[in-house]
C-alpha cells in the first residue's frame, strides 16, 4: 500500500498518474494531459473560507427573513420573500416544483453553510470535529445542488419582467442575495478540500506520535 507521503495524484478527469509538486502561493496545478485543475495552493484557505462562510451565513438569514421585492397596484401592495414563494407554489398544488426550489435555494445552502462552519471552526483551532470524513463526503455530493447564484439571476429577470407592468419596490433581501452570491463565490474560490484533508492528516499523525 502506498503511504500518504508518496504524494501521487491521479487526475479526476483522465486518471493520469502524476507526482505532486510544491506550489507557490496562489498557483494552480493542472493535469499535463487533459488540463483539469488538480489542486491549488490557496493562501490561508481555512481562515479565509471560514470568514466568508460566517459572513454568508449572516446574510443568508437576512435574505430569508426580509422581502425580496414588493409590487404596488392601485394602492394595494404585495410583497414576497423566498419562503413565501415556496409556500405559494405548494399551496397551488405544484408540490414537486415547490420542493425543488426549497431544496436548491434554502435547505442545501443552509446545510452547506452549517457544515462548513462546523468543520472549519474546530480545524482553525487545530482540532478535528467528529464525523468530519462523512461530512466532507456529503459536502461534495450536495455542492452542485445549492443554486443561490442562479436564484439571484432569476430575481433580476423577474424584476425586469415586473417593471413592465407594475411599480416595483426592491426589498432588503434583494441586496442581501446579491452580496450573498458574491460571498458564496468567494468561499468556493478559497475553499480547498485538499488543505482540509492535509490538516486532518497532520493532526492524526501527531496524535499517533504523542
Amino acid at each position: 500500500m502506498e503511504h500518504h507521503s508518496a504524494k501521487l495524484i491521479a487526475c479526476h478527469d483522465c486518471d493520469l498518474l502524476q507526482r505532486e509538486i510544491p506550489l507557490k502561493k496562489g498557483c494552480t496545478a493542472s493535469c499535463r494531459r487533459c488540463g483539469a485543475v488538480l489542486y491549488r495552493n490557496a493562501t490561508d484557505s481555512i481562515d479565509r473560507t471560514l470568514a466568508f462562510t460566517l459572513a454568508a451565513a449572516v446574510l443568508f438569514v437576512i435574505a430569508n427573513l426580509f422581502p425580496i421585492f414588493a409590487i404596488e397596484i392601485q394602492e394595494t401592495g404585495s410583497e414576497i420573500n423566498l419562503f413565501g414563494a415556496v409556500k405559494s407554489l405548494w399551496d397551488k398544488q405544484m408540490h414537486s416544483v415547490s420542493l425543488l426550489v426549497f431544496l436548491t435555494t434554502i435547505l442545501i445552502p443552509a446545510l452547506e453553510l452549517i457544515t462548513m462552519t462546523y468543520l472549519l471552526l474546530p480545524l482553525k483551532f487545530r482540532s478535528v470535529p467528529a464525523g468530519s470524513h462523512l461530512l466532507l463526503g456529503m459536502l461534495k455530493i450536495v455542492k452542485p445542488w445549492g443554486m443561490i447564484e442562479v436564484l439571484m439571476l432569476g430575481v433580476l429577470v423577474s424584476l425586469v419582467k415586473l417593471t413592465s407592468s407594475f411599480k416595483v419596490i426592491p426589498g432588503i433581501a434583494l441586496w442581501s442575495f446579491a452580496a450573498l452570491t458574491l460571498l458564496l463565490a468567494a468561499a468556493a474560490a478559497t475553499f480547498s478540500a485538499r488543505d482540509v484533508w492535509e490538516r486532518m492528516d497532520s493532526r492524526s499523525d501527531r496524535e499517533v506520535a504523542a
Binding site: 500500500m1 502506498e2 500518504h4 508518496a6 495524484i9 491521479a10 479526476h12 478527469d13 483522465c14 486518471d15 493520469l16 498518474l17 494531459r33 487533459c34 488540463g35 421585492f69 409590487i71 397596484i73 392601485q74 394595494t76 404585495s78 410583497e79 414576497i80 413565501g84 414563494a85 409556500k87 405559494s88 407554489l89 397551488k92 405544484m94 414537486s96 416544483v97 415547490s98 425543488l100 426550489v101 435555494t105 470524513h133 466532507l136 463526503g137 461534495k140 452542485p144 445542488w145 443554486m147 442562479v150 436564484l151 439571476l153 432569476g154 430575481v155 429577470v157 423577474s158 425586469v160 419582467k161 415586473l162 413592465s164 407592468s165 407594475f166 478540500a193 485538499r194 484533508w197 492528516d201
Partner: protein
Amino acid sequence: MSGATSAAELGLCSCHVCNLVSSPGQGTGQAHCPRCGAPLHFRKPGSVARCWALLISAYILYIPANTLTIMETGSLLKYRKDTIVSGVVELWRTGSWGIAIVVFIASVTIPLLKLISLTLLLVSVQRRSGWRPRQRTRLYRLVELVGRWSMLDIYVVALLAALVQLGNMATVKAGPAALAFGAVVVLTMLASMQFDPRLIWDPIQKES
C-alpha cells in the same frame, strides 16, 4: 503520448471523496479508502448505462417541457399562455433584449447543449473512440459547469407566481411545463454526474 500512465494501469485507485491514491488490493469484496473510508472504484460503476437511462428520460421530458405552458399571465385586459420559447419571443418583442438573450441561453441553449453533448460523449465512449480526447474532456467540464443555470426559468416562474396574485386584477400561474422542465434540469445534472470522463481516455491508454 509517451510516459503517460493511468492510475488504473498500475492497480491504483483515486478516492472520489478525498482524492487519495491507494491500492485497493486483490481481495474480494468492496475496497475502502484508507484515509476516509469511502468505497473505492477504478471507474464510476455502471456509468454508461446509468447516464444513458437518465439522459433518455431527460429527452422524453424535454418534449412536454417545450410544448406545454410554463406560465399563464392574466389581467383585465389580456390573457396569455407562454411556453418557454414564446416567453423569450415576447421578451424580445417588448424590447427587453438583454433579458431575452439571458433567458434564451439559460432555458433553450444550455438544455440542448447538455443533451447533445452527453449523447456525443456517451456514443464516443461506447465506440471506444480516440477522437480528440482533450476537447471531449473540455466539453464534459463545460456541461458540468453550465448545467445548473437552466434552473433560471423555474425560479422566475416561482417568484412571479407567488407575487402576482391579486384576485381579478392580475395573476401569474405556473404551468405544467415548469414541472417537466425542472425534471429535465435535474435529470441532465444527474446524468452528467454519472458520466465518468476517465472513460474517454481509457482507449487511448491501451494504444500507447
